[in-house]
Structure formats: structure tokens, C-alpha cells
């Protein structure tokens, strides 16, 4: 529901006050879309017909033990004063200009400006910050070497103490240094459209996205020596798009270029081994080294056209040719000086792929009741990276071992999709559709050379009736693979009856029904049902089947223009059955009494409710909302009837529950001034056996030195006082 039925109320208001919509009206629909339509922190933006500046003083109180990092995952709830919103637009018959600001001065701030010289030039700029706050109470033994954030060191005394067992491993928790684990994206964007003639546009888009901070990462020296690290992130992605587009009432043509350039300040990570103070050929290294995200380029050119044809027919064609390249210098196999040097097959990665895409569509409506369309799409990811030959490799910077596969597997795939659809509309508001899709994927280095999926579908859509909307679709799909290479599974030590679920043979069914009834203009009710299943008949080991169900019911009620309310409840369930065999190499590998299954089930319940009371009291607007989301995942292990495995102890369910309530009260005491108070209540509870505080009470876990990035609950109460100036 999400308050969409609220449109009835708005319609009434609009009809009652048709002249009072200047701000909405001033906002051109064709501007590049802002990254937000709802403001930061998802608070309700004042719905105003005027320009306004919304100043606030806010503060957040957390209950004891709250995870403030999780509470602020993508937002900044710190207290203080700010320009919460600025919405300014100036309109004239020839030009339009706007400025928007959200939460100025904070980590989730946003600034944008747009200019439109109607029919001649459009320009848009935005600076947007997106925080990602992982945790405020992570801690680690590691600290960055001076001037080298990508070299993480542990004091030698701790390493020596752990190596010599003079320092108890369990005691390192007390020696760790707390730090905030957070990332932030700073995104600067601009776009322009220059229109020299009625038919021609020249468009330029540019975006630079810088990401900085730290994120959880892994370094390992073996099964009993895993290390979690705060990897430094300092990257920049620069995107440029330029295209020239011509269009008139007969068709259109376009030629364009897109480039994307990724640069990483730190392309390797070096970190100390907490358990070793010196390199050893048998006991492990002093330190480890791994690569981080390499610099890469993506360039493509594209050309497309569309043509209107007789009999209400329309055809389009699109061709894109691009190249992805990545040629970073390769690091040695290991940083462990006690191990022999293994020669590199080449000195740089020399990775590149030619990507060719085509898209052709044809649609026609030869009669009023018949509509047909066809589409052919191909996507060829031709990975031209030479195989990097590897005879011996180094595992964990610890052990030299033979690599029996002999080299890398530069995956390529060529995907071809054909769609055909026909729709009959014998009644004005009803459409019956049948469709067929064939998707064929040729791929390299996979167990199947080719997978082909045939899908048939039927649907019924009734829309345009003021009191009823019904949409229903049923799909049946069957995917089969050819060129099965079971030997490739055997080569990597897998069971040959394993099927990788992304390409395995599969039969799928899916049904969806969505309906909305509006018996009277003040009330509507809506609901939906979905059901789906996927069976993988050829799979013995791996994902065998998965099913889904969901139900939604919602209603909107607008008894008076000043009162509107709505609610929606969604229930979902997803199940998956997968199979495996617990085995060591040797006789166990073929022993069916060691088979086991995982029966997974995800259940989720979501409730969204809202009520708006606008001018019910003089000059006063009150908006209330509440959101509840409860999701539970359970994994049940099953054993073969004649099992020789030990009895299993089932894992507890993983439960995440979020609640959010908001109240937004505004009072307009003069034409130009208003005041208000906004309250947000956020509560998160979690029970996660893998990352919960019930399980993990120290960073020094057996065989695993963590950074303490845990799943913890929070309760946050935020109050914001507002002063708004309108003009």
C-alpha cells in the first residue's frame, strides 16, 4: 500500500486548490533524476507549494548497549544543528532553476542544482555523500604502518609472545585498539543536454565516485590461523558518457561513447601474522600479502536506431562494442622469504574482454485488439585474457603445492535471448498475453558447454478501470544443459553428480496475482499472491529445489481530505533444499551413508502503516508512520537413513527484526514561518549465531582473530526541532 492510495486524497486537494501547486509544477520531469526523492534518513519532507528552508536541531539517544554503527548504517544521526532541507525553484516561461540541499554538513549530506533553458540547454549537478557505518566498537591488534595504510602491523612483542606462547592468545582481546569501521562514498555528478535543433540532442554525463575508509576483510595463514582485517579503501570510479541523439516523429538514431575508469590507491595488502615473528618454510610466514581491487578500464561505443513503420509497427536496433581491460603488475606468489621463488608466467595480468551486445526489437499493432512483439538480444562476453599457467602455487603464504589444473580459467559467455509476445485486448481494459522466451548461453570452463532455457507464459491484465486493477501471470520454464563435462568436476575434487545451481538443469513455475479494488473513492483494498518453485531433477548434490510463497494485503482509507491512512502487510516464505556428502579423500568420497541435506527456510513478515492528518487542526500537519520487518532464517540438517555420521545439533534460527516509527508535527504560524518537531523511533533486535554477541564475546576466537564486527541490537530515539521559512 505504502500510501499509494493517498493519491485519492491528493487528487481531492488538487481539485479543490488547483492553483496552489507551483513547486510541483516547477519541477521539470525530464531532469536527470536526483539520487533521492525521499530525503536522507527517510523522514517525510514537508509537502509544500513554496520554496522553503528547513532548519533543525536534532539529537539521538540510544539505549545502553545499542549498536550505533548499525543504527547509522547509511545515515548520520549525530546531534547538532543543520539546514535539513532547502528546496528552491525559480520558474519563468523560458528558464527554470532549482537548488536542493539535504542535511548540510553531515555525512549523508546532498547538494544539487539544476538549470533548464527550455528547449535549448539543460544542466544538472549533484554532490552526494553516502555513508556506510559498519561498527563503532570494532577493535584490532593491527595498525597501519606510517605512510602505508595498506601495510598492517602488529607489535613485534605480541607476535613474539604468541609464537613463543608466553602471551596467552585469549589475552589479546584486551590489547586490541578500538576503532570505527566505516566507509563513505562521495559522489559528484553532472549532466548536460544541449539541443541545437528541434531534432538533435548532445548529452554529456560525468560522475566521479570516491570511496574511502575501511571495511571488513580477510587474511588467512591456514585453517587454524584466519585473520580479520580492516582493509583500507581509497578508490575512485570515474564515468563519462557522451551521446548524440536525433529523433523526429518517424524515428530516432543515436551514437554514443561510455567510459568507466576505476583506480585503487592500494592494490596490495600486507599484514602481519599474529602467530609468527619470522618467516618459516614449514610453520608459516611473518606476514601475508594479497592483491586488492585492480585498476581497470571499461570503454564502449554504441549505436542505435528506432523506426516507426506502417500498421502501428515499430522497430529498434542497438549495437554496443566494448572492451574491459585490466593490466596490473602481478605480485610474486608469496611474500614468505623462506619459500622458494616460483617464476611468474608473465609479469602483468594482461586481462581483457571484448563485450559485444546487440538488441533488436519489433512490435506491431495491426488491429486494435492484437499486439505482437519480438526481441532478440545477444550479449557476448569474450574473455581474451591469456591463460596464466601455474605449475606450483603457494597456499596461505605458507606452503608450496602443485596446482593440478595447470592455470587460470578465463570464463567467457555468449548469451542469446529471443522473446516473442502476443497480446489480445478484446475488451477495453483487459489484455490477455502469451509469450515465449528462449535463452541460450554458451560458456567456457563450466561443466555445461551450453544451457538452454525455454519459457512460456500467459498473463491477464485488467487496468484502467477506476475501481479495479488485476494483474496475473503464470510462467513455466525448463532449462537444460548440453556438453556436460563431469571430468571437470572430478579434476577439482568435486562429486561428479554435483550440479552448480546457476547452470543446472531446472524446471521452474511461477505465478503472481496482484489486485486492487476501489469500491468507493475514499477506500481501496489491495492484495497479492505469488508462488513459485524450482526443481533441479538432474542434481544429486548441490541445490536441488527451492520454493517461494508470498501474500500481501493492504488498504487505504481517505474519509476526508484532511485525513488519510493506509496499511499493508506482507508475508513471505522461501525454502531451499541442498545436498552434500561429508567426506575426506578416499573411501568416504563414495560412501552414501555420509550424505546430508540442508533444508533452508526464510520467513519474513512486513507491516507498513501510515496516517496523515493535514490541517485537521488549524495550520497544523501531523504525519505518522510505522514499519515493522521480521525475518527469520532456519537451516535444518538431515542425514541419510543409514547414516554413519554423528548426530547433528541443529543451528538456532537467525532472526532480524526492525521497527521504525515516525511522527512529524508541523505548525505554520505565519505565511512565511513554521515550526515543528519530528520524532523517529528505531529498534533493531537480532539473533545471529554467526555474528551475535551470544556467540562471540572476544576477538580471539579459536583459529580466528576477528575485529569484532558483530550483529548487535539498537534502540534509537531521535528528536528534531524544526524551523521552516517559506517564500
Amino acid at each position: 500500500m505504502m500510501r499509494h492510495g493517498f493519491r485519492f486524497f491528493v487528487l481531492v486537494v488538487i481539485l479543490a486548490a488547483p492553483a496552489a501547486r507551483s513547486v510541483f509544477a516547477q519541477l521539470p520531469p525530464n531532469e536527470p533524476e536526483p539520487s533521492t526523492t525521499t530525503p536522507a534518513n527517510a523522514q517525510s519532507i514537508p509537502v509544500s507549494t513554496e520554496n522553503f528552508a528547513d532548519f533543525s536541531i536534532r539529537g539521538t539517544a540510544y539505549t545502553e548497549g545499542s549498536d550505533q554503527g548499525a543504527a547509522q548504517r547509511y545515515r548520520d544521526l549525530r546531534g547538532g544543528g543543520t539546514l535539513e532541507f532547502l528546496r528552491f525553484a525559480k520558474d519563468s516561461p523560458t528558464r527554470w532553476f532549482s537548488v536542493q540541499v539535504d542535511h548540510a554538513g553531515y555525512r549523508d549530506q546532498r547538494y544539487s542544482a539544476a538549470y533548464n533553458d527550455f528547449g535549448k540547454f539543460k544542466g544538472w549537478f549533484q554532490y552526494n555523500q553516502i555513508p556506510l557505518f559498519f561498527s563503532e566498537d570494532t577493535k584490532t591488534l593491527f595498525s597501519a604502518e606510517a605512510g602505508s595504510p595498506n601495510i598492517l602491523r602488529i607489535p613485534d612483542a605480541i607476535q613474539a609472545g604468541l609464537q613463543n606462547k608466553t602471551l596467552p592468545y585469549a589475552s589479546v582481546d584486551a590489547l586490541a585498539t578500538p576503532f570505527d569501521l566505516r566507509l563513505k562514498r562521495n559522489v559528484t555528478s553532472f549532466s548536460t543536454t544541449y539541443t541545437p535543433t528541434r531534432a538533435l540532442d548532445l548529452n554529456v554525463n560525468f560522475q566521479s565516485s570516491a570511496k574511502g575508509g575501511n571495511q571488513p576483510w580477510a587474511g588467512t595463514f591456514g585453517f587454524s590461523d584466519a585473520v580479520e582485517l580492516p582493509v583500507p579503501v581509497q578508490t575512485r570510479q570515474t564515468d563519462l558518457g557522451v551521446w548524440l541523439e536525433w529523433a523526429n516523429d518517424r524515428g530516432s538514431a543515436r551514437i554514443g561513447y561510455d567510459g568507466s575508469f576505476f583506480r585503487n590507491e592500494f592494490e596490495t595488502l600486507v599484514w602481519d601474522n599474529p602467530l609468527r615473528v619470522s618467516d618459516s618454510p614449514t610453520l608459516g610466514p611473518l606476514q601475508g600479502r594479497e592483491t586488492l581491487w585492480p585498476d581497470s578500464n571499461q570503454n564502449s561505443g554504441n549505436i542505435s536506431g528506432a523506426l516507426n513503420l506502417p500498421a502501428r509497427s515499430h522497430a529498434t536496433a542497438y549495437l554496443s562494442i566494448g572492451q574491459w581491460t585490466q593490466d596490473n603488475p602481478l605480485i610474486p606468489f608469496t611474500i614468505n622469504s623462506a619459500l622458494p621463488v616460483i617464476p611468474l608466467d608473465r609479469q602483468a595480468s594482461d586481462a581483457n574482454a571484448r563485450v559485444t551486445s546487440m538488441n533488436y526489437t519489433f512490435s506491431s499493432r495491426p488491429t486494435d485488439i492484437l499486439w505482437v512483439s519480438a526481441r532478440y538480444k545477444s550479449y557476448d562476453f569474450d574473455n581474451r585474457t591469456p591463460v596464466f599457467r601455474v605449475g606450483n602455487t603457494v597456499a596461505y603464504d605458507t606452503t608450496v603445492e602443485a596446482y593440478v589444473q595447470g592455470g587460470t580459467s578465463p570464463y567467457s559467455l555468449n548469451r542469446k535471448i529471443f522473446d516473442a509476445e502476443a497480446s489480445l485486448t478484446p475488451l477495453r481494459y483487459s489484455a490477455f498475453r502469451v509469450g515465449y522466451t528462449r535463452e541460450q548461453v554458451d560458456q567456457t570452463f563450466r561443466t555445461f558447454d551450453t544451457t538452454t532455457e525455454n519459457t512460456v507464459r500467459v498473463s491477464y491484465d485488467a487496468s484502467g478501470i477506476s475501481w479495479l486493477m488485476v494483474r496475473a501471470v503464470y510462467e513455466h520454464a525448463k532449462r537444460t544443459g548440453t556438453g556436460l563435462d563431469e571430468q571437470s568436476l572430478d579434476d577439482i575434487g568435486e562429486q561428479v553428480s554435483l550440479r552448480q545451481f546457476d547452470i543446472s538443469d531446472r524446471t521452474a513455475n511461477r505465478f503472481t496475482l496482484v489486485a486492487q479494488a476501489t469500491p468507493v473513492s475514499s477506500f481501496s483494498v489491495n492484495g497479492s499472491v505469488t508462488a513459485g518453485n524450482e526443481d533441479r531433477p538432474g542434481t544429486v548434490f548441490g541445490l536441488r529445489s527451492n520454493d517461494s510463497r508470498s501474500y500481501t494485503i493492504g488498504a487505504d482509507y481517505v474519509p476526508r481530505p484532511s485525513i488519510s491512512m493506509g496499511a499493508e502487510y506482507t508475508w513471505e516464505k522461501y525454502t531451499a533444499l541442498q545436498a552434500s556428502r561429508q567426506a575426506n579423500p578416499g573411501p568416504q568420497f563414495d560412501d552414501p551413508t555420509r550424505d546430508w541435506t540442508t533444508d533452508g527456510a526464510d520467513r519474513a513478515r512486513t507491516f507498513v502503516g501510515s496516517m496523515d492528518l493535514l490541517k485537521l487542526l488549524a495550520k497544523t500537519d501531523l504525519r505518522l508512520s510505522y514499519t515493522y520487518s521480521h525475518a527469520e532464517s532456519l537451516y535444518i540438517y538431515g542425514l541419510a537413513p543409514n547414516t554413519t555420521l554423528a548426530p547433528v545439533q541443529q543451528l538456532p534460527p537467525v532472526v532480524n527484526e526492525l521497527q521504525r516509527a515516525t511522527a512529524d508535527l508541523r505548525y505554520r504560524f505565519t505565511t512565511h514561518m513554521g515550526a515543528g518537531i519530528v520524532y523517529w523511533y528505531d529498534k533493531y533486535t537480532v539473533n545471529d549465531f554467526a555474528r551475535g554477541t551470544q556467540t562471540l564475546t572476544t576477538i580471539a576466537q579459536p583459529s580466528f582473530l576477528m575485529i569484532g564486527f558483530l550483529a548487535r541490537p539498537y534502540t534509537a530515539n531521535t528528536v528534531s526541532g524544526r524551523f521552516t521559512y517559506y517564500w
Binding site: 505504502m2 499509494h4 493517498f6 492553483a19 501547486r21 510541483f24 509544477a25 516547477q26 521539470p28 533524476e33 536526483p34 539520487s35 525521499t38 527550455f118 528547449g119 548529452n203 588467512t220 584466519a226 580479520e228 570510479q237 516523429d249 576505476f262 592483491t291 585492480p294 581497470s296 528506432a306 574491459w324 596490473n328 574482454a353 563485450v355 526489437t361 499486439w371 596464466f388 603464504d397 589444473q405 587460470t408 580459467s409 578465463p410 491484465d461 487496468s463 484502467g464 501471470v473 552448480q500 548441490g542 508470498s550 499493508e568 513471505e572 552434500s580 567426506a583 568420497f589 519474513a604 520487518s629 525475518a631 532464517s633 537451516y635 545439533q649 543451528l651 532480524n656 576466537q701 583459529s703
Partner: protein, 295 residues
Amino acid sequence: MRSFIVIVFLGYAASVSAAQQLPAGYVGDDTCIACHDNKEKQLSGTLHGKAQNERTPAARPNQACETCHGPGKEHAETGDKTKIRVFQTMKPRDASQVCVSCHNRSSHTLWKGSIHDARNLSCVTCHSVHSPKSEYAQLKAATITENCNTCHKVEVAKLQRVGHMPVREGKMQCTSCHNPHGSTNVRLLKVGNWVNELCVSCHAEKRGPFLWDHAPVREACNTCHDPHGSNNDRMLVAKLPMLCQRCHIGTRHPSTIYDGGQLAVRSNRLIGRGCVNCHAQIHGSNSPAGNAFLR
């Protein structure tokens, strides 16, 4: 009095002249506004009402209304609502045809034949030219998410999960990834020509190609991630190690049951971030020793 007569005469002459320039069956904006004055006011502030842009309806002298609604003479003379285009009562494809006669470029180029076109949606299913509610794009709902929720309820419900992108925080929206008007990609994805090209348009660090690619990553990001949200970290479709064990079952640790007993001993394959406690380079590695995505 003489001046008044001159003005009236000139006005009449001008209106006759304008009417004479109109195609047959057209009556001109003045006639429309005589009854529908509120529509004119609503339109004048939107891009449709900016006559300077010669692509807009308003650029046609005295034909702003009839450019979209069609010739109105019969309707004006009889008051019969069936004698004029009323978009809410038209067949959806008829309604869309009017809009795409101008909106035939940029993000609208591929509307015809798109999945929304196939499902008999029209432009006015989501947009309102005269009575928009949204801050952007003249939508019937206040936000894009609300608009999409009319049909895509499960996807919108997933946005409330613990593992989510910053949609509910207002930093993204449905149209950050989707172009509802049609695209060269699948599932109306806005950028690129395959699922991964959309994802790496923001997550470029994962695009490679790497020295060691991971096959399902190259296949499609949504093999392992549900971009709308999930009950798992990083929007994974299942928890680790269970997700990885859907493909990796060979011997030793990938084939092990990570049950309560393993939890009791705090197995480093089960606690924390599961398999990626060690296999950090799961999206691809550029190290010569990266065959197992450990380096």
C-alpha cells in the same frame, strides 16, 4: 467607446484568424480553457507548458490541449466526453501512443515492446500530466518506491530487510537500477547489457576481468545476492557457509556439516562472515596465488 469597439473587433479578428489557422476539427486552447481552466493552470507550470521548447505541446500556437487530447470541436459542441481523448478511459496502448509520439528519445526509446508495454501498462498508469503528486517525474504517487509498490510488492517489502541497499534511507530508489520505460538490458535494468554491467556501474572494483575469475560471479551477481534485500549480510540469498555449499561439496571443509557442534567450537568457517573469513577475494583475484580466492 470607440476604443472599446476597436479592441473588441481586433480581438475577434485575431481569434478568427487563429481559428482559421487550426486544422479541421480543432477549436483551440481558448475554447478548452473556457471549461477546463484548472487544467490549463496546472499545465502551464510544467514542461508541457513551456512554449519556448518547440518539442512541447505548448509550442503549437493555440493547440496545447489538442496536441495530446486530439481535435476537440465535436466535444466542445456536444459536451460528449467520448468525442475527445480522455487518457484514463483510453486503451492503454492508445494512450501511450500519444505520449511516445513525442517522448521517443533517451530513456523512452525502448518503451514499445518493453515488459511494461507487454503487460498493457500505459504512461498514465504511473504518470499524471495534470495532477502529479511526486517531487520528480510527475508520478501519481509521492515517491518512485510507492509508485512501483502498486505492483511490485514483494520487492518493495524486501527493502525493509536488514541486508539492504540505502533505498529506505533515501540514497537510492527503484530507478537507480531500473528504467521502467524499457532498456537494452534484462529486467528493465537501466545501465549496461547484462545484470553484471548494471551492478559494476557502481561496484567497479568487482568488474575485472581478474586473473582468477569466479564463474558464478561472471555469470550474474544475483546468483548469490538479492539486490532488493535479504535476511543475510551483504544481501546474500542464503547464509554462509550454506550458500557456498550449494556448489562446493568436494571433500574436507566444504563438505562438512557446520552444525551446532561446529558452532560450539567456534569454527572459523561458520562464525563471523563464514567462508569469506578466508576467501576474501570471492569476486576474483589478481594474485598469481589466487586460485582459491585467498590472496
